[in-house]
């Protein structure tokens, strides 16, 4: 446990270590994205969703955690090959700590979100109590997918590029910059394929609007994430032994 924490801490530090602005980049990146999308969708396409900036920002940072966390998993074994070849230890720890390190940035952004939320005069609703469960839900999902991708990467190096495409498609098929109705009315099934859709929707329902989550998606996504993690661990245990040899 302590080892996981230490690895995560050092990894997090290392990621922002060389750069002048350091950890601020974790915040600046989604803020820049927010500015671009906000400009395009309110000024050019005249979207009039109330609190659109907060709406966007919550979606962007949640998606960024998923995208960065899963991508990090792909080359994790390769990057840590020096450890695999030198020391015997529980390798899944590496994934937990890598996910944690991306998770720190997400928490940092979430705090920034809450600040803007309060500045805008929106109250903190009681339904924010769903937030920790949603966060845990994403964490488990990211961890599971990362382990899965890392194992696939041992045998199929193209996964890195394929996953870029999935991330791109996923971004547009998750209601990040458009409303949940736009997705759910026509393509409800997509919310069952892409668990991030339900998570992003419920995060806004509970935190931004103070409404109950969509319970069917809420529970579905929890089960989805846990099943993915279990499958991922199983596949990892069965196939990942070739990592040191093939990477």
């Amino acid at each position: 446990m302590e080892r996981i924490w230490l690895l995560a801490k050092i990894d997090f530090k290392k990621r922002y270590y060389d750069q002048g602005l350091g950890i601020l980049w974790a915040l600046l990146n989604p803020l820049f994205k927010l500015t671009v999308y906000y400009f395009v969708f309110t000024e050019i396409m005249s979207n009039r969703t109330p609190n659109f900036a907060l709406y966007l920002f919550s979606g962007i940072i949640t998606w960024a955690f998923f995208a960065q966390g899963t991508k990090k998993g792909i080359n994790l074994l390769k990057n840590k090959k020096y450890l695999l070849e030198s020391i015997q230890f529980e390798q899944l720890d590496l994934f937990v700590s890598a996910t944690l390190s991306v998770f720190f940035a997400f928490l940092f952004n979430l705090a920034a979100y809450l600040v803007i939320h309060l500045i805008n005069g929106i109250p903190i609703y009681a339904t924010i109590l769903f937030l920790p469960i949603l966060i845990l839900n994403i964490f488990i999902l990211v961890l599971g997918v990362a382990i899965l991708l890392a194992t696939i990467n041992i045998y199929l190096r193209d996964i890195e590029h394929l996953w870029d495409i999935v991330i791109l498609a996923g971004f547009w098929l998750t209601p990040i910059i458009y409303s949940k109705e736009a997705l759910l009315e026509k393509f409800y099934f997509l919310a069952y394929i892409n668990p991030m859709a339900g998570i992003v929707i419920n995060l806004r329902e509970t935190v931004l609007y103070g409404r109950q989550p969509l319970y069917n998606l809420f529970f579905y996504d929890i089960v989805y994430a846990i099943v993915i993690l279990i499958i991922a661990i199983f596949i990892y245990r069965t196939y990942a032994y070739k990592a040191a040899e093939k990477l």
């Binding site: 690895l7 050092i10 060389d18 450890l83 020391i87 040899e245």
Partner: protein, 284 residues
């Protein structure tokens, strides 16, 4: 056998140690900590290398695009607690692969069996370090992966740095370290991390520091007392002769000869001589 062969000029003369330690120790009553049974390893190497979709699809049509390389052949080995085992052999004879198999980083072919008892650490040049991070961080990572708590590392930190002689560079990223500094750091961590089994892969190849060498040798001698098991892969025969209880000579992935350093080292020189002759013939 001709023992007065001309030694290659790179050979370092054995240190003038008075009354070389006799290693005729009887270890047969100790427990077996590493055991290899019928260990084989075949690598399948694609000419083009990477595992990509393109290669996989092409492979379906063109049949086998893979090349088989037998890296390890029928190795059976028992190593007892506290033994200092040397592994020698020419380049590409399978020494490093064997270490990785013992580590568990590479799984042997079906039918092979590897059992080990105790915490193992493999030491090689540039091993286990993240080049971007400082010695301080690397010490914490490595030690914690070896099972020490941060608190224990806190306690030993100064000692480790002192031992490695890197006090002035504790916060320098490891990428700026010389080979010697890296191996000193690795060894210092290993010694203090209390691994039970050390697998040393050409570990002192780059250490020129005489002072450190001396310290390491003291540690070697001490490690027997502490019951540590050491497997030492090296091209440096003086170290092998001085410390090893038993030496294994590998050739083409198989065990060519096992015995005391006295018995095995001359065979190694013989092989090296053969190789040189072959090269000469090939050159003509």
């Amino acid at each position: 056998m001709d023992t007065n062969q001309p030694k290659p000029t790179t050979e370092v003369l054995p240190s003038k140690k008075e009354g070389q330690v006799s290693h005729a120790r009887n270890l047969s009553d100790r427990e077996v900590v590493i055991s290899l049974k019928n260990v084989n390893k075949t690598f399948y190497i694609r000419e083009k290398g990477a595992d990509s979709i393109r290669e996989k699809v092409m492979g379906m049509f063109s049949g086998n695009s893979k090349k088989q390389v037998k890296a390890i052949q029928d190795v059976n080995l028992e190593i007892r607690k506290g033994e200092f085992l040397g592994i020698i052999g020419r380049n590409g004879s399978g020494k490093s692969t064997l270490l990785k198999i013992i580590m568990g980083a590479i799984r042997p072919d079906k039918g092979g069996e590897v059992t080990t008892h105790g915490r193992m650490m493999r030491l090689s040049l540039g091993m286990g370090f993240d080049p971007k991070m400082s010695a301080r961080e690397n010490i914490y990572i490595n030690a914690s992966i070896l099972g020490l708590t941060s608190k224990e590392v806190d306690e030993k930190f100064d000692e480790i740095v002192e031992f490695a002689g890197l006090k002035r560079f504790v916060n320098t990223p490891v990428k700026y370290y010389s080979r010697g500094m890296k191996s000193r750091l690795g060894f210092a961590i290993a010694v203090h991390a209390e691994a039970d089994i050390f697998l040393m892969d050409e570990f002192f190849g780059g250490v020129g520091d005489a002072n450190f060498k001396k310290k390491s040798q003291e540690i070697f001698a001490k490690s027997f007392v502490e019951g540590r098991t050491i497997i030492h892969v090296s091209h440096q025969m003086p170290t092998i002769r001085e410390h090893c209880d038993r030496v294994i000579l590998m050739e083409k992935g198989a065990v060519y000869k096992v015995g005391t350093p006295k018995e095995v080292v001359p065979v190694y020189w013989e092989l090296m001589k053969q190789q040189r002759n072959e090269k000469k013939e090939a050159g003509n």
